[in-house]
């Protein structure tokens, strides 16, 4: 998000899902696409069959790797070095898009200088990728006509997450793989409305459509529309700052709608202390999640099937969902609960329906100006920016110019992960998802088929390591980090390289985020789920 916004001026997926049917080459990095975004993964598999090329940069042997023309299994957390190395080769060999660089970008000299420090031999030492493979990858990507980069949490969930994203953006700009169909830099959003939550201003520094809270004109506009005075004009706290503030006793109350941070956020112990330290915790959700169990008030909400509303998918497309059934018992749609709270707090908000709310969104959020219920009811969705009701929506961004004008190269230096293995904690733990479960499991673990297919957390460990530690398949092991320890079954598999172990965070019986590091990327504040140092032993 933040990384792309800095380089292009907009943080969303530049292209569309249908573009996956047209591209000649995919660079997939930090995304286990077939399991996390199955219907994008399937398009990549199909594209391979029609002759497209697939380049994967991922330490794990993910299912998609079977189809890769080239799979670079770099050391965890060395993404920036690998991407810089590719750019080094591309510039050295004159494979970059000179016209695009000259007319659409700025700061090229600076990029050149930084990446000149990453010749393939150096990168080999940092990342473990053979120089020859790196060169091959660089040439493949640069020479393809329509090359799409797709990434997910494997890129962002590092202390260097923003740098990783910026490096992807640099690479795409350098080769002119932007501003057309079937190219671009494409972050794949993990949940059905992460994009929408951001678009609607669910962020401390912006209102809807990314209008900054510090901008006086924006503040005035919202004050007028909302008939209030004195809107806060300084950015608020991010979730990670909130947790710290709670621990310090500066934050007193937290109202959480539909999230389960106790399971989803790193360093569970720290979150738990923060939440316990609050004077007042309100949770509004459909299930009594691990976090809800700690609340002072729990408000029962309606599920997606029990209300009307719009959701914005990873390609910036808003779609309308209607109400199918009534909520159970006394549960209510979130929007009605919010209106009721607001009224009692002395600020009445009166809306007859979600359509009514959308009218206000249309008038206050430029990129959603033309996304009306009337239009959504008889089409299959509209992609923002869609400024007015005549506008057809936008399939790909940055056509003739970037949202901010020229695209800015933001070269980054390689920095190692915050926590590296040492003598005692000698393994790297990395986390992710499995196909059958979703996020913290609150929904999928209540679906019998999904629970049957993936009923428990497993720790993937390489056969060599397993042998050394005397661990057999499906045997119970204990994993410990400096923050906590968890017991779970081992799955001995070549999917992970030696000295790396992998697990998921869906299961509350083996809450893997007890181990993870809450060291944050200093800008995006995305925690480093993707790597921390652990030690492993067989349970007696």
């Amino acid at each position: 998000m933040v990384g792309l916004a800095a380089t292009f001026g907009s943080g969303a997926m530049t292209n569309s899902i249908n573009d996956f049917d047209e591209a000649d080459l995919f660079l997939v990095t930090g995304s286990n696409t077939t399991e996390q975004h199955p219907l994008i993964g399937s398009r990549i598999i199909n594209a391979k069959q029609r002759g497209a090329q697939l380049l994967i940069i991922d330490p794990r042997d993910i299912p998609l790797a079977k189809f890769a023309d080239l799979h670079l299994r770099h050391n965890i957390g060395t993404d920036v070095a690998v991407l810089n190395g590719m750019m080094n080769v591309i510039i050295e060999e004159g494979l970059y898009d000179k016209e695009f660089v000259a007319t659409r970008t700025e700061n090229f000299e600076q990029l050149k200088e930084v990446v000149s420090k990453y010749p393939p031999k150096t990168v080999e030492k940092i990342s473990g990728i053979a120089a020859a493979d790196l060169k091959k990858a660089a040439r493949m990507y640069a020479k393809a006509d329509k090359a799409m980069i797709a990434y997910a949490m494997g890129i962002t969930q590092h202390t260097t997450g923003v740098d990783n994203v910026k490096s992807c953006a640099n690479l795409a700009m350098l080769t002119g793989h932007l501003g057309r169909a079937a190219v671009g830099v494409n972050p794949l959003r993990g949940q059905n409305n992460v994009q929408g939550a951001c678009d609607m201003g669910g962020l401390p520094n912006v209102y809807s459509s990314y209008q900054p809270v510090i901008d006086a004109a924006v503040k005035k506009k919202f004050e007028d529309a909302w008939k209030v005075e004195g809107l806060d004009d300084k950015p608020g706290l991010t979730i990670t700052d909130m947790m710290d503030a709670a621990q310090k006793g500066e934050l007193k109350a937290l109202y959480i709608m539909g999230e389960n941070p106790l399971m989803s956020d790193p360093n569970t112990t720290h979150i738990e202390q923060s939440l316990s330290n609050l004077d007042f915790l309100v949770i509004q959700d459909i299930f009594l999640s691990e976090t809800a169990k700690k609340a002072d008030v729990v408000l029962p909400a309606a599920s997606f099937a029990e209300k009307e509303g719009t959701y914005t998918n990873t390609e910036r497309k808003a779609q309308l969902a209607y109400q199918a059934v009534s909520p159970p018992g006394q549960a209510r749609p979130d929007w009605q609960i919010i209106c009721a709270v607001s009224k009692l707090a002395g600020y009445p908000m009166d809306y007859a329906s979600p359509a009514d709310i959308m009218k206000e969104i249309n008038s206050l959020s430029p990129s959603y100006g033309g996304i009306t219920y009337e239009r959504l009811s008889n089409n299959t969705g509209l992609q923002w920016p869609c400024p007015n009701v005549e506008h057809p929506g936008t399939a790909f961004l940055h056509k003739d110019k970037f949202s901010k004008g020229l695209g800015t190269f933001m070269p980054c230096e390689f920095k190692p992960p915050a926590e590296m293995p040492d003598d005692e904690y000698d393994f790297m733990l990395t986390t992710g998802r499995v196909y059958y479960q979703f996020h913290t499991g609150t929904m999928t673990r209540r679906v019998n088929i999904l629970e049957r297919e993936a009923p428990e957390a497993l720790l993937e460990i390489n056969p060599d390591d397993a042998k050394k530690l005397g661990i057999r398949n499906k045997e119970k092991v204990e994993v410990s980090s400096r923050r906590g320890s968890v017991q779970l079954k081992a799955e001995v598999t070549e999917r992970v390289p030696p000295k790396v172990v992998f697990s998921t965070f869906h299961f509350n019986e083996a809450c893997i985020n007890l181990l993870t590091n809450s060291a944050f990327d200093p800008v995006a504040k995305i925690p480093e789920y993707k790597s921390c140092a652990v030690k492993i032993r067989r349970c007696a």
Binding site: S42, N46, S377, N379, T380, Y435, N448, I449, E453
Partner: protein
């Protein structure tokens, strides 16, 4: 032979809708064509094969089969007097095959209640609905031979009406009808079928694939390659008119209160055959795909096949809706091609 004027169709459906829960093809405002409760505004005659086959009407994806209320057991065998308008003949064969299976040995009361109370009006196919149709190969189309109450042949301004049962006769009471001379009607139907057959060429590879499966001459690599691609969505089984596997779940709401439901399951899911010990006789996706296609093309119970070719009725849905193109047609090509 009786005929119906096409211009009267909405009126006729309106009459039927008074006494039946009437399901008919509908064109939604976003362009989707699916089957739903009859509605004059959305009704369309210009429809293809919706993703779900009509099995979903008799055997819903998730169905409560009993409830326990205050420790009292209440069976739920729900059925309304229904009418399905516009079935394709491949789907009609799908219903015949599934019904045979569901009524064999132990009668499935939940299925039977719904199936036997629904009247079925087949719309014969004047041409292939898309490139995945292969009913002429599986002996299940383009027109139905049995099972329907009424079958309509679209001949332009009028539908020729073939009556298949006494219930079909009843449906015609009080409906504006005309007559066409028998010989002329027969000639029209013959022409209709001939033209339709021409647009749905026989897929010769199906027979050779069946042979090869029988002789166990299929290279394992065929299954390995498909297994590597499959994303295990289960969609091929869910959309298939002749897949009837389900699992049973209990939901307890409070002590003495709860329900049992059954919901579609699929042999493509690993847990479907995993044994309690953890051992799985179909341990890989390749083996699971092999099993599915053997079942469709080789091992289907011979009485359940009816007068079709095999356990596949050639609707082509698995080819239309598999995210990675592993439909029966693709599999047949890989085996025999």
């Amino acid at each position: 032979m009786k005929t119906l004027a096409k211009k009267d169709i909405n009126k006729i459906l309106g009459i039927w809708a008074q006494k039946h829960a009437l399901l008919a093809p509908a064109k939604m405002d976003n362009g989707d064509c699916i089957f739903g409760a009859f509605n004059e505004k959305t009704f369309t005659l210009d429809y293809k094969k919706p993703p779900l086959s009509p099995k979903s009407f008799f055997f819903p994806q998730a169905e409560v089969i009993f409830r326990v209320e205050n420790n009292k057991y209440n069976e739920v065998v729900a059925a309304k007097k229904g009418l399905i308008f516009g079935l394709r003949s491949c789907d009609m064969m799908g219903i015949r095959q599934s019904s045979s299976f569901m009524f064999r040995d132990n009668e499935d009361i939940y299925y039977k209640a719904k199936q036997s109370s629904a009247a079925m009006v087949v719309m014969a196919c004047p041409h292939a609905q898309n490139e995945t149709c292969f009913c002429t190969t599986t002996l299940s189309g383009p027109v139905a031979k049995k099972g329907f109450d009424l079958q309509l042949y679209d001949t332009g301004d009028v539908f020729l009406v073939e009556v298949g049962s006494p219930r079909g006769e009843e449906l015609l009471v009080g409906i504006p009808l005309a007559e066409m001379e028998e010989s002329k009607a027969k000639q029209k139907i013959d022409e209709f079928i001939k033209k339709a057959r021409q647009s749905i060429p026989e897929v010769k590879l199906v027979a050779s694939a069946m042979e090869k499966l029988k002789d166990k001459k299929v290279a394992e690599k065929v299954w390995d390659d498909f297994g590597a691609k499959c994303i295990t969505c289960g969609g091929c089984a869910f959309v298939c008119p002749t897949c009837t596997c389900f699992n049973v779940y209990d939901h307890q709401y409070s002590p003495g209160n709860g329900l049992r439901l059954r919901a579609w399951d699929a042999c493509l899911y690993g847990g479907f055959t995993r044994e309690a010990s953890g051992h799985n006789p179909r341990a890989s996706q390749a083996l699971r795909l092999k099993r599915r296609h053997e079942h469709k093309l080789l091992d289907y119970n011979s009485t359940d096949i009816q007068d079709g070719l095999c356990g596949c009725v050639g609707c082509g849905r698995c080819s239309d809706y598999c995210p990675v193109h592993i439909g029966t047609l693709e599999v047949v090509k890989a085996i025999a091609g």
